[in-house]
């Protein structure tokens, strides 16, 4: 059998048929992800379980386009899964990755994406230990989709979640917002101008580890992906049955993101991020939490943006530049399909 032509070749139906062609493709994945658990090529990876609680999360990635300023679907899949695990106060250990490939998809693009995944996982210190490949006919998928599951070890005795949040708690945001969404829009050539915006796509478990080490009484963490910070705050206000007030001037928005949003009539608070988190902590611990965050490269612009209130229940309000308040609405969310 001819070796795969990674330069000019394309995905064919038989690459997903379980035969020798598929074995060639799988071999390349095993080589890239480079770890003994995957290299064993059993039906499942087995490993010793750590003591205590574990975290598990799964995510599907259908982003369009597959490559965008600041990342690609492979990097996004690793970061997205790692971040969901990290938000539970866990140290991510292992990932799985399932690939749904469209017949005709360029092998060179696949190679780039797989290498990017391998690189991101290595940097993050997580191993991709299980995988699957399926090929569907042309036009039945858009290039490729990735489904990833992650498992991690909970490393904090804190119980995190909406139920832990109390009135008076501090609301903290890890950095400037809206970069992923605007980077994707510019990559889709919808903007009509070249935005100098790169996706903030990044693994946040290092930042989370620093936050946990600070000793602050954390109550809740969530990465602000689809629907942006507005969605996270509204979800939390609803789940906790509490209100929330944030301050507009405390929220960092870069100039290109602000300009693109103004042009397109979008609200930065509703635009997606892939490397930003919202944390809630006890009010007295906000200073040390912020100090810890700001000493980490992914939390340099961390800021206290507001506080939790008793009510109105489920409502997020924002104090504006001139002192008045408005509601931060729950994003309707169909303006930007397939951003992750």
């Amino acid at each position: 059998m001819k070796p795969l032509d990674w330069k000019h070749g394309h995905v064919e139906m038989n690459h997903g048929a379980g035969g020798r062609a598929m074995a060639q493709l799988v071999e390349a994945f095993v080589e890239a992800f480079d770890n003994p658990l995957l290299a064993a090529q059993e039906d499942c990876a087995t490993f010793a379980a750590p003591q205590g609680r574990m975290a598990l999360s799964t995510d599907a990635f259908v982003v369009s386009p597959l490559f965008f300023p600041g990342g690609d679907i492979g990097k996004l899949a690793v970061c997205g899964t790692v971040n969901d695990i990290a938000m539970g106060g866990a140290r991510p250990l292992y990932l799985s990755a399932s690939f749904i490939l469209e017949e005709g998809f360029a092998l060179s693009a696949l190679r780039k994406i797989v290498d990017s995944m391998a690189h991101t996982a290595k940097e993050a210190g997580v191993r991709i230990v299980a995988g699957d490949t399926k090929v569907v006919e042309r036009h039945k998928a858009d290039g490729m989709f990735v489904v990833s599951t992650g498992i991690g070890e909970v490393v904090t005795p804190l119980v995190l979640g909406a139920s832990q949040v109390k009135p008076g708690d501090a609301v903290v945001l890890s950095g400037s917002i809206g970069e992923h969404g605007i980077a994707l829009l510019s990559a889709r050539e919808l903007l009509g101008f070249e935005a100098q915006v790169h996706s903030d796509c990044a693994c946040l478990h290092g930042l989370v580890a620093a936050m946990l080490d600070s000793g602050a009484q954390l109550r809740f963490m969530r990465d602000a992906t689809r629907g942006g910070v507005a969605a996270v705050l509204n979800e939390l206000a609803k789940a906790a049955g509490l209100g929330m007030v944030i301050e507009a001037s405390a929220i960092a928005v870069s100039k290109p993101v602000a300009a693109a949003c103004a042009l397109l009539g979008m609200e930065p608070l509703e635009v997606a991020n892939e490397g930003k988190l919202v944390a809630i902590c006890a009010p007295e611990d906000a200073p040390r939490l912020l100090k810890a965050m700001r000493s980490h490269p992914l939390g340099e612009k961390a800021a206290l943006i507001g506080r939790v209130e008793e009510g109105p229940k489920g409502q997020v309000a924002m104090q504006l530049a001139l002192g008045s308040y408005r509601v931060v609405p729950w994003p309707l969310g169909e303006q930007l399909p397939r951003i992750c």
Binding site: A170, L190, G192, G243, V245, E247, A250, S254, K255, A258, A259, A262, L264, G265, E267, P283, A286, P287, L290, K291, A303, L304, G306, R307, E309, G311, P312, Q315, A317, Q319, L320, A321, L322, G323, S324, Y325, R326, V327, P329, L332, E334, Q335
Partner: protein, 422 residues
């Protein structure tokens, strides 16, 4: 050129100065300069001083973009209680009669066309709650585009398909449609057409003044004219209206200072018994407007005898249709589409809201049966619609009393905490 009152107050210079001061911090933009809170507070006190009289002031912001900005920037609660903003009909999605949506739905049912339109257009309910979005869910090929050029590109990419651009909007979105039509003709692109629903601002503004003149109990004193439309058509047209109806009118941009400046200028005019046009958007709008865009519109479109506006009813010479040389790209002419009259939901107050006779919360459907996620009336659909703006930004917040708002919690303590860490 007539100077806006704000310029007399030094707003423009102040904004420029703020921009200059930002020399050290490259993050401040022109946009931010017109949102400067210090100047905003100065304007608010100027408005409060000027409006401290025994009378009430009823000002309409014609444009939905202004309504959105007033709500988004939280300006309404900061105005004096005797100053009322009446939210006008300048939202193209809101004023489009349901029959026009039905026309597009009928086209999708009869032919296998690809129908393209702006995002908020897709959610507008036609008859029995059907929308372009629900048609898409049932298999119709409906696509969201950011403009007609994208639809044109789609037609080039899909030569086997008929691509129809569902065009809506005032004079701001008309030149791009005209350009797409001219390009289609130039390229001889036969599978592209436009379902034209472009409407005109000045006839609608005249319609408003006539309606208020005739309506018992309704009151309107002055008009904030739309800045973006003015950049295209020039403020000459609004000058004529200000003169014909004897009403103070001020063109405004869309940043907080633009709006406060216009409000201040109009209150000053009313107090002095003046009724003239002021240009408060001098950084972008001129008396003549964009002559190139006007020429393009004249070439591709002609003025219709009349158009049925949701809320305003039939207004003569208030819309555009595609001119005969471009008939081959006119979806209406191509398929002879009927436009059935469709009544709004019986309890829906959109018509009254569009005329400023009711505020959104006064509608019995508001925030109950009618929400942005499942709108019954058009004003709830577009973010520029008054109902949607109130729902999104002001739901549950007492609009009139910001100081006592339930959410006006102790931010000072929070700031203290921030002070410690910075």
């Amino acid at each position: 050129m007539t100077q806006g009152k704000g310029e007399a107050l030094g707003i423009a210079e102040g904004a420029k100065r703020a921009e200059g001061e930002a020399g050290n911090s490259p993050s401040l933009s022109y946009m931010e300069a017109f949102a400067n809170p210090t100047l905003g507070r100065r304007l608010l006190s100027a408005i409060a001083r000027e409006a401290a009289t025994q009378r009430d002031y009823y000002l309409m912001e014609f444009c939905g973009g202004h309504t959105h900005a007033l709500c988004k920037h939280g300006l309404l609660p900061l105005l004096p209680p005797n100053l009322h903003m009446v939210h006008g009909p300048g939202c193209p999605v809101c004023v489009l009669p349901a029959g026009r949506i039905q026309q597009a739905l009928a086209l999708l049912e009869a032919r296998e066309v690809v129908l393209c339109s702006f995002g908020d257009m897709l959610r507008v309910p036609g008859s029995r709650g059907h929308s372009l979005l629900s048609a898409r869910a049932q298999g119709a090929d409906v696509r969201m585009v950011l403009g007609p050029t994208q639809a044109l590109k789609l037609a080039q990419a899909l030569p086997q398909r008929e691509v129809v651009f569902f065009a809506v909007g005032f004079e701001t979105t008309t030149p791009p449609t005209a350009l797409a039509l001219r390009q289609a003709k130039h390229m001889g692109l036969k599978n592209f057409s436009v379902l034209c629903n472009h409407v005109l601002t000045p006839p609608a503004m005249r319609g408003i003044w006539e309606a208020f003149r005739g309506a018992e109990g309704a009151r309107l004193d002055a008009m904030v004219a739309p800045g973006h439309v003015t950049t295209v058509i020039g403020y000459k047209a609004f000058e004529e209206i200000a003169e014909a109806f004897g009403v103070p009118t001020c063109v405004a941009g869309f940043e907080p200072l633009d709006l406060l400046n216009a409000i201040y200028a109009l209150v000053c005019q009313l107090n002095r018994g003046q009724a003239r046009l002021e240009n408060g958007f001098a950084r972008a709008a001129t008396r003549e407007g964009n002559l190139h865009a006007q020429q393009l519109m004249r070439e591709v479109f002609e003025v219709c005898a009349g158009f049925e506006w949701r809320g305003l009813g039939h207004l003569p010479h208030s819309a555009l249709r595609i001119a005969p040389p471009y008939a081959a790209w006119d979806a209406q002419a191509k398929w002879q589409l009927p436009c059935p009259p469709i009544a709004d939901h019986p309890a829906c107050c959109c018509a009254k809201v569009l005329l400023g006779q009711k505020t959104p919360p006064q509608c019995p459907l508001f925030a109950k049966a009618c929400t942005p996620a499942s709108p019954l009336g058009a004003c709830m659909v577009s973010p520029e619609g008054a109902c949607s703006a109130y729902y999104g930004y002001a739901q549950g917040l007492p609009l009139a009393a910001p100081g006592e708002a339930a959410t006006a919690a102790t931010f000072s303590s929070l700031k203290g905490e921030r002070g410690e860490v910075e």
